[in-house]
């Protein structure tokens, strides 16, 4: 059989969103791959120039619908740095809690979609069941399950509700118990799952750094880069946590990426627990930002999928002069041909599912 191209997308069960993975196969082996993105391009960087600083938070929520708070938080941080204001301490702690809750929800969504990618529909239902707990918490905190619009320039929108701490602890305990006892049985303790993920889609640390892969995908290659540790923002330096790295060998495969993200779920629970203990019980959670600002602000945060970067320039008006967004998945996409080449056709889902693609932020 001659070599031929297979279009995986734009309408395909593998692409969780609207993009196209062109794969050239020789029989079952992939010889070449070409990601084709831009179906969802909305021109965020341009739209944000015509809206006021505070109103842009609504837009940044919609960069990635799975992980809204982390994105709007990154934007708020950049604007705050530009304006030179500082969030009150309680506001910072609340932000940390909301970020980690969002990270758990996002990683659970990734795990939920990774299951059916490999043919394990039970994983989808189980992960969505637990994600519901965290969506409830986020709803309790911000009033919305999706596109929360919670972080604001200068703090967060509202204080935590009264019973939040108790509910949060209860949910996390419940979730950790499931994480210890139930999930391993269908995921990494299952031999078939290991067969499908181990040794598939390997990426060396050098390649990963050269192609700009960040976040859990880079940590799966054995590189200890976690911006929460290296370049702490908010109150992360007061929290005792361990960035999750793949320890065995320097080459990251699908299984390594799975393990790193799976352990990050546990680590995020740990962070939330510590934050609930250490945070001041009362106090202001928000300062009023100035309406107009001039200067440059630059914020780099550890998003659920990698390093999210916002670069905001103000020219003294009440809206940004220029905004630059660096989305981690966009950079990871460049490395997909390296990841895919030489693997089998069935491994496309195993690899692209494990790098956790979010089309909203990729196409901006």
């Amino acid at each position: 059989m001659p070599e031929f191209w297979i279009n995986m997308g734009p309408q395909h069960p593998m692409t969780h969103g609207l993009w196209n993975m062109k794969v050239k196969v020789d029989g079952e082996t992939i010889t070449d791959a070409k990601p084709e993105i831009g179906y969802l391009h909305r021109g965020y960087e341009k739209i944000m120039e015509v809206r006021e600083f505070q109103k842009n938070v609504v837009l940044t929520d919609r960069l990635c619908y799975v992980s809204s708070i982390t994105w709007s938080h990154a934007y708020c941080l950049a604007v705050e740095k530009m304006m030179g204001i500082e969030t009150p301490e309680r506001g910072q702690w609340i932000r940390v809690i909301s970020l980690e809750l969002q990270r758990i929800a996002s990683h659970l969504m990734w795990l939920a979609s990774y299951g059916p990618d490999l043919g394990l529909l039970t994983g989808l239902l189980w992960c969505l069941r637990e994600r519901e707990l965290f969506l409830d918490l986020i709803q309790l905190m911000s009033g919305a399950r999706m596109n929360q619009n919670y972080p604001r320039v200068g703090g967060v929108r509202n204080d935590l509700p009264e019973n939040f701490e108790a509910m949060c602890k209860r949910s996390i305990e419940h979730f950790l118990e499931k994480l210890e006892n139930e999930y391993p049985k269908i995921f990494h303790e299952s031999k078939v799952f290991r067969m499908r993920t181990e040794g598939v889609g390997t990426l060396s640390a050098v390649d990963a750094i050269n192609w700009g892969v960040t976040g859990p995908n880079l940590r799966a290659c054995g590189v200890n880069v976690d911006l929460r540790r290296l370049d702490p923002y908010e109150t992360y330096e007061e929290i005792d946590f361990e960035p999750q790295i793949w320890q065995d060998g320097g080459v990251g495969d699908s299984y390594a990426r799975f393990v790193v993200r799976f352990n990050e779920l546990r680590e995020s629970c740990n962070i939330i627990r510590q934050a609930l203990e250490k945070m001041p019980k009362t106090g202001p959670y928000r300062v009023k930002p100035p309406r107009r600002a001039e200067g440059e602000g630059y914020a780099k945060t550890e998003d659920s999928r990698g390093e999210a970067l916002f670069y905001v320039i103000g020219d003294g008006d009440d809206r940004p002069y220029r905004v630059k967004i660096r989305s981690p998945v966009f950079c990871t996409m460049a490395a997909t041909p390296i990841l895919l080449r030489g693997n089998k056709l069935a491994d496309v889902v195993s690899i692209l599912g494990s790098v956790d693609v979010c089309v909203g932020e990729m196409d901006k």
Binding site: P13, M14, L118, A346, V349
Partner: protein, 409 residues
């Protein structure tokens, strides 16, 4: 010791058909006074050949209805309910009691607390209403012929598959071989379906399906050969009769029935079960229609009831596979309780053989369902590796073990 509910389906039906034809004949003879040519028609109806042919048609209809209407719907319902429970949800709940015309149902909020048994029927009705789309560049004749080929080859299995010692269409001496031959017809249909739709997904899916089914039917046949060394027959009824006795091993009688799974055939049982999972394309081996990478594999382009046929035939194959496993290795329809009551001189079994057989079938089906919904699917090269490098050597080993036991007694 055994007692089926129907002593012999063919004989029973023949008596009934003869009786009905007798009534029709007497009516025709009564009418032939005014219309003399009808007399020849009445004589022709009374021929033994005519009665036999009509009886065969009726028996085939009964078995096909029994298989498709009753057991197919039940096994689909069992699967949907069981995997829903596995995923912490209720599954299908809309039943006939959810329809809005019952007085206890409000129109806007009908109750959804039924069992949902007829959901699959409703799905079938929906599929029949849908349009049958043929892709423009498809090889139309081949595209339309392959669902028929697949479905009919699967139904052929049930022509010789006995449901008890009396409930079957035909009892061949080579029944097991016939079933295996009918099972092996599907790859050609699948490959042609994959080619004819003129789509890359169906092409790759058809390739995978044919390669997988072809390579797994070899260990399947080899495991049956290992069994035949022991049984000396390919007649399913005789194979079950051989297992319907207590197990004697090490000179003592063990409190176990003499099923072939207990003993040297255990390896063959494992191989045959794994090969059967592949033959019915369930999840660890459902790579032909891996919906994640090939949209729906070789069934991508089928729509409407044609998709329904190729979708339902998987469950029919599952039924046949479970029945075959239980006949060959798990004692078929032999069970512990066969007490018969005498109703007017006719012995009526309290727990007939069909019940024991169905219990085994559904237990095996439930096992396969739980297995297939708790593991991911295996990659195609791994599947072929398992087939050629593990199962075939092991099945050869099973033949050697069986022959050795046979020689040593």
């Amino acid at each position: 010791m055994s007692a089926p509910l129907i002593p012999n389906l063919f004989a029973v039906c023949k008596v009934l058909v003869a009786a009905i034809i007798g009534i029709v004949q007497s009516i025709i003879y009564a009418l032939s006074g005014p219309i003399p040519p009808l007399r020849g028609l009445g004589d022709w109806l009374g021929l033994d050949a005519v009665i036999t042919v009509v009886t065969y048609l009726i028996v085939v209809t009964i078995v096909v209805l029994w298989v498709t209407v009753l057991n197919l719907f039940t096994v689909m319902w069992v699967e949907r309910k069981l995997y829903s429970r596995l995923q912490d949800r209720y599954g299908i709940m809309i039943s006939i009691w959810s329809l809005p015309f019952w007085p206890f149902n409000r129109v806007h909020r009908p109750t959804h607390k039924g069992l949902g048994y007829l959901q699959n029927l409703a799905d079938g009705v929906k599929l029949i209403q849908k349009e049958n789309i043929t892709p423009r560049n498809a090889d139309s004749a081949m595209f339309h012929i392959s669902p028929v080929l697949i479905a009919s080859s699967t139904l052929m299995v049930f022509a010789v598959l006995p449901w008890s010692s009396g409930f079957y269409v035909a009892n061949l001496d080579l029944g097991i071989l016939f079933i295996l031959a009918a099972f092996s017809l599907a790859p050609l249909g699948i490959l042609i379906a994959g080619y004819a739709a003129n789509n890359k997904y169906t092409l790759v899916g058809g390739f995978r399906a044919a390669a997988m089914l072809l390579s797994y039917s070899i260990p399947m046949v080899l495991a049956v050969i290992a069994l035949v060394v022991f049984t000396g027959t390919l007649d399913p009824v005789k194979i079950v009769q051989q297992q319907d006795r207590p197990l004697v091993a090490f000179g003592t009688t063990l409190p176990l029935p003499a099923w072939y799974v207990f003993g040297p055939q255990f390896l063959g049982f494992l191989i045959f079960s794994v090969a059967m999972i592949a033959e019915m394309e369930r999840v660890p081996f459902d790579i032909p229609e891996a919906e994640a990478e090939l949209v729906e594999g070789w069934t991508t382009e089928y729509s409407g009831m044609r998709f329904g046929i190729v979708f339902a035939f998987k469950w029919l194959r599952m039924l046949a596979a479970c029945a075959l496993i239980s006949i060959l290795y798990l004692g078929g329809w032999s069970g512990p309780v066969f007490t018969t009551l005498s109703v007017g001189g006719i012995p009526v079994p309290i727990v007939p053989e069909e019940i024991w057989f169905l219990l085994r079938i559904y237990f095996l089906a439930a096992f396969f369902v739980v297995l297939s919904w708790s593991v991911p699917r295996v990659r195609i090269d791994q599947i072929l590796n398992i087939g050629w490098k593990r199962l075939i050597p092991y099945s050869l080993l099973a033949i050697l073990v069986a022959a050795g036991f046979r020689v040593l007694g």
